[in-house]
Every structure is written in structure tokens, then in C-alpha cells.
Assembly symmetry: C2
């Protein structure tokens, strides 16, 4: 398996399969088919079979997929068979909501620290985490070895903070600020932007 060659678009679908399989598993379902999985995620059965076949032979003709096995495989492929410490930068409304977010559960991530530049917030506790000073961002991230962060600062500050994150050795930025970030090729950025999500739907509306 040469992960270098898998198209990004296929990689981007794997977490959606994993989420659905994990929820099926919690409901006590132990086997599924590409048809059933496809109906649940809104992707064709053929596409699911094609996507998964990039990584190996995970199902059996006639009996389908054994869910615990497929979950294990996907968790290994996506490297969430471990727990990644994540830092949250910017403790406004969104930062607060994320620190308290309950959806990370068994999905490979835990909030480890949070930062803000506002003196009235620094030192306060949010959901048990003491808000750290962004002036120590590079030092604290380097010492902790954190590679993945969630960036919740205002748009005007996002690029400057992103530059510091790169300097600190961060390799993945989940960006909540409504701005495209410029980072080196080895740093991945994913965007969480509700307006983008909404615009992707209004296109189809009458």
C-alpha cells in the first residue's frame, strides 16, 4: 500500500465512512454491505467499494463487511488508532464551544491545551483547561509536541497565528477563521466555515 498515491478526494471520504461505521457499531450492528453503507452516507456502493479497495481487501463477496474489522482498518489508515493531543487557539464563542465539544469521544483526538491573547482570558479556566498566553504559543506547542490545532481566532489574526503554528512544528490546522491560510506544502489545512457549507447548498435550491 502506497499512501502517497491515494487521491485526496478518496482520503476525504474515509472519515465519513468511519463515523458511520462507528455509529452502526454502537447500535449493535456488526456487518454491513457497500449498499447499506452507501445509503447511510449518501455515496454510491460502487464508489465505496472502489475507495476501500485502494487500501486492501476488507469485505467478502456475498457477506459484506465485518464492521469491527473495517473500523480497525480505517482507524489505522487515518492514524486515529491513537489519541492526538490538540490545542485550541482563540477562546471566543467558537473556541469555548470546541473545548466543550463532546463529539471527539473515540475518534482519535482530545483537547490538551487552549490559548488566547486577551489578558482578561489568560489564566481563566474553561472546561477545566487554563487559558494560556499566545505569547508562549511556539514554546508551549514545541514542548508538548502537539502537531494538530484548531484555530478559532478572528480572520484578521489568523495568518499571523498560522505562521507561528508552522514555526512551532504544527502539521495540521483545522481553521475556523473565514480566511484561506498560506502555509508550506507539508502543513495540512482543513476549513470549517459555515458560510461555505451553506453556499454549497443554496446552489441547488429553487
Amino acid at each position: 500500500m502506497n499512501t502517497q498515491k491515494i487521491p485526496d478526494i478518496i482520503v476525504s471520504r474515509l472519515p465519513v465512512y468511519l463515523r458511520t461505521l462507528q455509529r452502526m457499531s454502537v447500535s449493535g450492528i456488526t456487518t454491513t454491505s457497500s449498499q447499506e453503507l452507501g445509503e447511510r452516507v449518501g455515496i454510491s456502493a460502487a464508489q465505496i467499494r472502489k475507495d476501500l479497495s485502494q487500501f486492501g481487501e476488507f469485505g467478502k463477496q456475498g457477506t459484506g463487511y465485518y464492521i469491527p474489522f473495517l473500523i480497525d482498518k480505517l482507524r489505522t489508515i487515518l492514524k486515529v488508532d491513537r489519541i492526538w493531543d490538540v490545542a485550541v487557539i482563540g477562546m471566543g464563542d467558537m473556541g469555548h464551544a470546541i473545548v466543550r465539544y463532546q463529539g471527539f469521544g473515540d475518534r482519535g483526538f482530545q483537547v490538551a491545551m487552549c490559548f488566547d491573547s486577551d489578558p482578561t482570558k489568560i489564566g481563566q479556566k474553561v472546561a477545566g483547561y487554563e487559558v494560556r498566553d499566545t505569547r508562549n504559543l511556539i514554546k508551549d506547542l514545541r514542548e508538548s509536541g502537539i502537531k494538530v490545532v484548531m484555530l478559532c481566532v478572528p480572520a484578521a489574526a489568523a495568518q499571523e497565528v498560522a505562521d507561528k503554528l508552522v514555526e512551532a512544528g504544527v502539521r495540521g490546522i483545522l481553521n475556523y477563521a473565514p480566511i484561506s491560510l498560506s502555509v508550506p506544502a507539508e502543513v495540512k489545512v482543513q476549513y470549517i466555515d459555515p458560510a461555505i457549507g451553506l453556499q454549497r447548498m443554496t446552489y441547488y435550491l429553487p
Copy 2:
């Protein structure tokens, strides 16, 4: 132009182009090239030219794109040359953050009402909006004509609420609950799930 035939993957990139162009415009930049735009959004110049050419002839060989013109075209294509009223369902931490979100600005959306099922929240004001009772969800949405909602209820409640939204005539659901929704084909769903965003990056990390 036959919008039925444009692949979803192309449509999904247009809001990203629009966001970047709008930010360039705010910075006083009036023209751009597919190369420059591509560098800003992390998509190849060839792909951008190919995507835009699906909708018409928006640039000129040699001089590139006139940004205000391209913004107007994209806003029309995405139907955000108007303001869509949006309802927020579920006023937990995330619902609160969304109601206060500043990023919708000139991007086509405004929060118009919000709902919760918790008697201690109903009737309270959040960012100037009175929290409505989800028992009136179908009636209130129908009367308002709202077609787009942001769903921020817990995962366990999301499908039940989604069924009500469909009954109320909603056509687009931005789903913050970490669960795939089952809805009729004419209803669009986009997912905001930080764990999915994070997993799309860890795949590439060492």
C-alpha cells in the same frame, strides 16, 4: 448554462473561490489570475480555469479576471446575491457560537430565529434572538418560509429533528451533529464535523 450537469465537486469549490475573491476585494485588489487565485486557495490554476469555464467566459487571456465581475457571477451562480434567512436549532455551546458568528457578513445569510427544547432556555434572549420552542418548529419554519437551517442538537436527537425540518419544507441542513442524516434526495445536507476535518489531516501526518 445547465446547472443540473455541473458535478458536485466543482460546485463545492466555488464558495472557496468566492470567499478568497471577496477577501482580495476588501484588500483593494481588483484583478487576479488563475495562478494567483490558485496559490491562495491551494488549487491548481488549470483546475480553477476548468471549474469556472463550466459557467461561462469570466476572464480574458492575458489580463485575467476582474474581481468585482467574478464575485458578482459567483454570487449569482451560488444564489447568494440575496440574503437567506437561516434558523439555528439547538442552543447549546455551538448554537450560541453560531448565533453570534460574525463571518456571514456579505456572504448571503443571516440568522433569523433560533430554537431549543429545554424549558429553561425557551424564551431567553441570545444575541437579541428569543429562543423558540422546538414544539413549534414546523409551524414557525413554514410561516417564515425558511429553507435553510443550522442543526446543532445532540447526535441522539438529530435525525428526529431532521425529519421535522423536512416536513417543514427545509431544503438545506448544515448539520453540526456528529451523525449522518437520512433525508429525501431533494434536501441537501452539509456536515460540519471537526473530528472529520482532523482525521482528513492525520492521514498525512508522520
